[in-house]
Symmetry: C2
Subunit: 409 residues, 2 copies
């Protein structure tokens, strides 16, 4: 029983130190003001695992489960994963005595809409999920993870979920952070939330069934981390990139595990940037490199370009801009261009013109609260932020890309 | 310029104390696990003001504005407020040299949908709002505030907003908390977010144009606070309720400001409950009193019952249940029933039947993560939580309500 009826004393304003932390502070007598302060703790685990679907492994069976969790599981998959792994998933859950419910969504960028979110919400309603102790488990690419994370954050104002990325871009980007969202009328990720999963499970064996183009797509985000903060990672891509694609990042015995090192560096680099800035209170974000012009490029070219491909065009453009500003050398530009070429990543697309790119920058300026805050590479492995990019600079850089790209080949 | 390229050392796992607070913690070498921990600070002000639209007052002109805010304002109104106050609002902003953009939405519960959220998002896009320093200002009833708060929380994953409630229920409930949301396929507030406004401005002069039924509607939520935690507030409602409605809570000189005391106690009581539990980590919530059966009753009866009316039916039902359990006396039950009657608040509606109420409880159990956590009044001004309510108890209580209500009249 609770009773606080006697403790109320409105005539005694509770003026405590309003800067001292959580609490309710009341000021003034005739026209009071209350200050409500609280802190929300967020905590999640990103765990690398091997062979998640091996029935002897427990990670998936226990994912998001607590003491009160029964044997039902609510799984959302994209159609590609359902096709490749549906049977193995059913076997896995059967082996663990669990009853999975599967909700299958299309994995394409054009389906990243509120309609897909509504599909998940409707299914959650029919399943009758319990609010806190029956986990939502999302297994799929970045599009699927963003949709399910969004639905989970909205359903009853937040329902826990687990992220299991199955693409390379998911493993190093969408799968490890806290952003969710969908596109809105051709605006990339215009609506969404920050909502941490309770757990992310990273299993690179899913890459064995990934189309080569989608591997290249993921390497664009790895290259991003390399360019802005990890020269060693760049060297690994330069030396081993095509071999890593060919091997689908399988670990190879005896010659040092390059695939594992590349993945770990990419995830570590990403998390180092995200953790101190989880809600983007600081809008100067290194991980926004390649994400200034690309949202507009990607949506304009839809479905022509994958996300990482659009990001790569943005990185090619800004590498040229940086080189023209003297922030990196022509030699460094050529090295970057060669890595992009070796990973089949485009440096140009016909939807790019100067006016369109300038408009894309304007939209990003609104997203970055009135300033460009444009990350530019400084050499290879470092970056700076500028606020004074001109349309002429965009024009000259675009000319470079149309005339053969960063390596001029 | 930032560079952390040299600081990376993946071979040295960073095992710090993972319970020590924010940070990125890495464990393990061959298959690493990262623990991401962060805390999000939330802080907002709830300010009582008089005559917000008086051009000599600055609260509205400065609401949500900072150093970099220009003279544009993005205002979302419901159609009732546009009709009553549109001209005064334009005059107000003109007097302060501001250029307002008005986005007008219907205020009815049946429009509390994702379509209305999409309407606001589309308008925000066209306005080209800056992400952090151009405030969204919501002026209207609870439905409008919930819709706009939801849109603000989703737009670019969060855009600051200001809440200005114009109904009594908005002043004491929807206007002062952090919940946002819309209905989904006849499920009340099934999707939403927790998203604090930067500021809530409470001006009871808006009540002068409020229909009497909507005043009664607001008194249901005030009665809720009284019943679970504030006996003095109950006495004020018992003694002055109808007079407060008749005067539309205008302050009266010379006889003690009962209207002000009632409003302050209601807001203070609400905030005392919300502040320590802003994200509902504890699902035993006193302010959930009257909100166990009412979400289903309200949606079934739509548009017949207002929110507070449905809440009152729930409170009448659970008062009878509590009395039958011996948690309050027949005399107390009669007093509660008389206050409800004096405020024209219904204690029954034909959509209520035993099976429907049992199903409503089942849905709420899912919302409360598998337990009833049902608040029941204990006397007047205190409450307890129970988990063992039976269908028979619902039946008997419903019989009471059909046979004349709590006061048997």
């Amino acid at each position: 029983m609770e009773s606080t009826a006697q403790s109320f004393a409105p005539s005694l304003p509770q003026i405590q130190n309003p800067l001292s932390g959580p609490g309710l502070f009341r000021h003034g007598d005739s026209a009071p003001t209350w200050l409500v302060q609280a802190t929300k703790p967020v905590r999640y685990e990103v765990r690398m695992v091997d062979n998640l679907l091996d029935p002897t492994r427990e990670d998936l069976a226990l994912a998001g489960a607590g003491e009160r969790t029964g044997n039902r599981r609510f799984i959302v998959l994209d159609d590609r994963i359902e096709a490749h792994y549906g049977a193995r998933l059913r076997q896995y859950f059967q082996a663990h005595g669990l009853r999975p419910h599967f909700c299958v969504l299309p994995a394409e960028e054009r389906n990243k809409t509120m309609d897909s979110v509504a599909h998940v919400v409707r299914d959650l309603n029919e399943f009758g999920i319990s609010r806190r102790h029956e986990p939502i488990i999302a297994i799929g690419g970045g599009v699927l993870l963003d949709i399910v994370g969004f639905a989970a954050s909205l359903y009853r104002r937040s329902t826990p979920y687990v992220r299991i990325p199955t693409t390379l871009i998911g493993l190093v980007d969408a799968g490890v952070g806290v952003k969710t969202g969908v596109n809105f009328e051709n605006h990339k990720n215009r609506i969404g939330t920050y909502f941490a999963p309770s757990l992310a499970l990273l299993d690179k064996t899913f890459l064995t069934t990934l189309a080569e183009r989608h591997l290249h797509n993921g390497f664009a985000e790895i290259l991003k981390i390399a360019l802005v903060k990890d020269f060693r990672l760049f060297e690994l891509l330069e030396e081993h990139g095509p071999a890593l694609v060919a091997s689908r990042l399988r670990s190879r015995q005896g010659e040092g595990d390059v695939a594992q090192e590349v993945l770990e560096r990419a995830v570590q680099g990403m998390l180092e940037e995200l953790q101190p800035n989880l809600w983007e209170s600081n809008l100067e974000r290194l991980v926004d490199y390649g994400h200034t012009f690309s949202p507009t490029i990607e949506m304009k070219a839809l479905p022509d370009l994958l996300h990482g491909e659009a990001v790569n065009i943005d990185m090619a453009l800004t590498t040229s801009i940086a080189r023209r500003r003297g922030l990196l050398t022509l030699g460094e530009q050529v090295r970057i261009g060669r890595v992009m070429r070796s990973m089949n990543l485009p440096q140009y697309h016909p939807v790019c013109d100067v006016a369109g790119l300038a408009a894309a920058l304007d939209d990003t300026v609104r997203h970055r609260d009135g300033l460009q805050r444009l990350p530019l590479p400084v050499g290879i492995g470092a970056a700076c932020f500028v606020n004074d990019l001109t349309t002429d600079e965009i024009r000259h850089a675009l000319d470079d890309l149309m005339a053969g790209g960063l390596d001029g080949e």
